[in-house]
C-alpha cells in the first residue's frame, strides 16, 4: 500500500454544550501514510485528543472530509464503526482494561464480535501478551498488575487486531520514565512491523522515536515536520 491510510481535509470539530460552542479542532488538513510514527504534541486543551478521536472515527467531525485508504467516510455511525474495527486500534492514557476480566480475556475482547472462533481468539490473545512480555500475567485481573503491565496489556489489546493504524492517546501519561521508554520502543517496533502510529502526547521524550511531529495550538496544526 502506497497511498495514505488516512487523509483529513479541512477537518473541524465543535463541541456543543447547551448554548456554549467550543471549537476543539479547526481547519486541520493532514495525511498519515504507511509506516509512519507521528506524534501530535501541544499544550492541554490544544485539541490533540479530539483530533485523534476524529481521525480514529470515534467522533464525527463537524466539518471537513475524511478518507480512509482513499475511501470517503460517510457520516454514518455503522460505517465508521466498521472501518474503525477493520483498520484502527486505540490505546488510552489509562489502559481502561475491563476490571472483571483477566489480561488474556481483555485482549481477547478486542477480537470479539468479529466472527472468530473462541479458541482462535484465545490463542491470538495469548500470543500477543507473550510477545509483549506478559506471559506470566495471562490470568491476572487488571487490579493484580502494575500500571506498566496494564498499559502493555492495553497495547496488546490494540495490536491483537493487527491494525494498519494505531492511535495512542497519552499512553505514557501514567507511567514512570522507564516504563514510558518501553512503551515508545514497543510502538516504534510496530512501525517496523508495517503499521503506522499516531500518538498524542505531552512527553517530549517520545520525539526521538517519531518520524514526524505535528504541533497543535488552539485547535489548529501550527507545525508539521
Amino acid at each position: 500500500m502506497t497511498g495514505p491510510i488516512i487523509e483529513a481535509i479541512k477537518l473541524e470539530h465543535t463541541y456543543v454544550r447547551g448554548t456554549n460552542k467550543v471549537s476543539a479542532v479547526r481547519d486541520v488538513t493532514l495525511q498519515i501514510g504507511p509506516r509512519e510514527f507521528v506524534l501530535v504534541v501541544g499544550p492541554s486543551g490544544s485539541g490533540k485528543t479530539t483530533l485523534l478521536a476524529s481521525l480514529g472515527l470515534l467522533l464525527s467531525p463537524s466539518r471537513g472530509v475524511l478518507r480512509v485508504m482513499g475511501n470517503h467516510i460517510a457520516d454514518d455511525q455503522r460505517t465508521r464503526s466498521e472501518v474503525r474495527r477493520a483498520h484502527f486500534a486505540m490505546v488510552f492514557q489509562d489502559a481502561r482494561l475491563i476490571p472483571y476480566l483477566s489480561a488474556s480475556r481483555n485482549v481477547e475482547g478486542a477480537l470479539s464480535f468479529r466472527r472468530l472462533r473462541r479458541d482462535v481468539r484465545q490463542q491470538r490473545a495469548r500470543d500477543q501478551l507473550i510477545a509483549l512480555g506478559l506471559g506470566h500475567r495471562l490470568h491476572h485481573l487488571p487490579a493484580e498488575m502494575s500500571a506498566g503491565e496494564q498499559q502493555r496489556t492495553g497495547l496488546a489489546r490494540a495490536l491483537v487486531t493487527d491494525p494498519l493504524l494505531l492511535l495512542a492517546d497519552e499512553p505514557t501519561g501514567n507511567l514512570d520514565s522507564g516504563s514510558s521508554s518501553e512503551v515508545f520502543e514497543l510502538l516504534r517496533s510496530q512501525v517496523a512491523a508495517g503499521r503506522s502510529v499516531l500518538m498524542a502526547t505531552h512527553d517530549l521524550g517520545a520525539v526521538p522515536y517519531a518520524s514526524r511531529v505535528i504541533r497543535m495550538s488552539d485547535g489548529r496544526v501550527v507545525a508539521d515536520e
Partner: protein
C-alpha cells in the same frame, strides 16, 4: 461462538465479578415471584381449607318445612318424606320434629344466672343431624342408634337449654314434661339452626315416651356442593309431585358461593401484594441498572472504541439483569412452593402446584425486570465514547 454467545459470556463474567450487586438485583424478583406464588398458593390452600371448614359447618343445606310459622309447625307427610329420600341432589337427610314444648319458666326459679326466661322445645331427631348440620359438642356425645334400647330416655341439650336446665355435664337428669331424661351431650351453638340452642333433642323412642308427635316438621337436607339453589327449587316439587301445597325450602348455606367469596378475597390479597412487590422490584432493578451504567461508563466507552457494537454492550447489560432476575425469580418460586407445602401440610389439605401460574409469575416478573432494565439502559446508546474514556 456467535455474537449472542459472546454477549452472554461477557454478562456471566460481569455477574461473577460483582456477586453482591447481582444478588441484590435478584432479591426484588425473588420477593415478587415469592409473593405472587405464595399469594396464589395460599389462596388455593385457603379455599381448600375453607371448603373443609364450610362443609363441616353444614353449608349447602336446604331446610324444607310445610309451615311458615315455626310456632305452629305442621307435620310433613310420610309420602313426601319418602319421595324426598329418592330425589336427586340429596346427599344426607335428617328429620326434625317437635315432640313437646316446655312451658316458659321464670328466671327466678334458677336464680340470677338467667336474666330472662326462654321457651324450650323438645325436638325429635331422626337421621344424623349432627353430620348434616356439622354440629359440634361442648361435652358428651350425640344421640345414636343404641339409645333406642335404653330404659332411661336420653337427650342432647342445646347450649342455652343446658344453661336453662342447669346441666353442666353429661349424666345429669332432667324432667321434660312427665318424663325423666338423661343428658348425654351438650351442643355448641349451631350457626345453621339457631333454635337448636334452646332445644332438647331426643330420639323418636323418647318422643314416644312423652306421648308427643313422631312426624317431622322440618327436613334438613345436605345437597351436592354448590347446588343448594337448584335443590331449593327442585325438592319441594319432587316431594309433592305437583299435588297439594308445596313445602317451603330455605337455603341456609351456599358452599359454592362461600368458596367464591373466600377465593376472591385471597386472590385480591395475593395479587395486591404481588403487584406491590413487583413495582418495588422494578424500582430496585431500574435504580441499580442506572447506577451500573454510570459506574461502567468508562468500560462502555472503551469497548465501543475497540470495536464492540453499542447494541451488543447494551444487550450484555440487559442480559446481566435478566439473568439475575430469572435466578431470583426461580429461587423465589422454589422457596414459596416449599413454604406452601409446609402450610398445606399443617392445614391438613392437599396442595396441587399450578405450574402454569408459577410459570406465568416468573415470566411476568422477569419481563418487567427486563423492562425496568431496558429503561435504565437506554442511556447506554447516548454515551459519547470519548467522554466515557476520559471519565475518571
Amino acid at each position: 461462538m456467535n455474537s449472542l454467545g459472546e454477549i452472554l459470556d461477557y454478562a456471566r463474567s460481569a455477574i461473577r465479578s460483582q456477586p453482591t450487586r447481582y444478588l441484590a438485583l435478584a432479591l426484588g424478583p425473588a420477593l415478587a415471584v415469592g409473593a405472587m406464588v405464595a399469594g396464589i398458593g395460599l389462596n388455593l390452600i385457603a379455599v381448600e381449607s375453607a371448603r373443609a371448614s364450610l362443609q363441616s359447618l353444614g353449608t349447602d343445606v336446604v331446610i324444607l318445612s310445610t309451615s311458615l310459622d315455626s310456632n305452629t309447625p305442621e307435620a310433613v307427610a310420610d309420602t313426601a318424606v319418602e319421595r324426598l329420600l329418592d330425589a336427586p341432589l340429596i346427599q344426607q337427610v335428617a328429620l326434625v320434629g317437635v315432640a313437646h314444648k316446655v312451658p316458659t319458666l321464670s328466671a327466678s326459679v334458677y336464680g340470677a344466672r338467667l336474666p330472662a326466661t326462654i321457651p324450650t322445645t323438645v325436638l325429635t331427631i331422626s337421621g344424623d343431624v349432627s353430620d348434616v348440620l356439622g354440629l359440634s359438642l361442648r361435652a358428651g356425645r350425640f344421640l345414636n342408634a343404641v339409645d333406642a334400647d335404653d330404659a332411661l330416655p336420653v337427650a342432647v341439650l342445646g347450649e342455652t337449654a343446658a344453661d336453662y336446665f342447669g346441666v353442666q355435664s353429661p349424666g345429669a337428669l332432667l324432667m321434660v314434661g312427665d318424663s325423666m331424661f338423661m343428658a348425654v351431650g351438650i351442643l355448641n351453638s349451631s350457626p345453621i339452626l339457631r333454635d337448636l340452642d334452646t332445644s332438647v333433642l331426643i330420639t323418636p323412642e323418647g318422643a314416644e315416651s312423652l306421648g308427643g308427635s313422631l312426624h317431622p316438621t322440618r327436613i334438613v337436607a345436605k345437597v351436592e356442593g354448590g347446588r343448594a339453589d337448584d335443590a331449593a327449587r327442585l325438592l319441594p316439587i319432587a316431594m309433592t309431585l305437583g299435588s297439594g301445597p308445596q313445602p317451603r325450602a330455605t337455603v341456609v348455606g351456599r358452599l359454592g358461593e362461600a368458596e367464591r367469596v373466600v377465593g376472591q378475597s385471597f386472590a385480591r390479597l395475593g395479587t395486591g401484594i404481588g403487584v406491590l412487590v413487583l413495582l418495588f422490584s422494578m424500582l430496585i432493578i431500574g435504580t441499580t441498572m442506572h447506577r451500573t451504567v454510570t459506574e461502567r461508563t468508562p468500560e462502555i466507552g472503551m469497548r465501543v472504541a475497540i470495536g464492540h457494537p453499542m447494541p451488543a454492550v447494551a444487550a450484555q447489560m440487559l442480559f446481566e439483569s435478566l439473568i439475575a432476575a430469572a435466578a431470583g425469580a426461580l429461587v423465589g418460586a422454589i422457596v414459596a412452593l416449599a413454604g406452601l407445602r409446609i402450610q398445606a401440610a399443617s392445614s391438613g389439605v392437599t396442595y396441587e402446584v399450578d405450574w402454569s401460574l408459577v410459570g406465568a409469575s416468573v415470566f411476568v416478573t422477569v419481563s418487567t425486570s427486563g423492562l425496568a432494565s431496558w429503561a435504565a439502559l437506554r442511556r447506554v446508546r447516548r454515551i459519547d465514547p470519548l467522554d466515557a474514556i476520559r471519565m475518571e
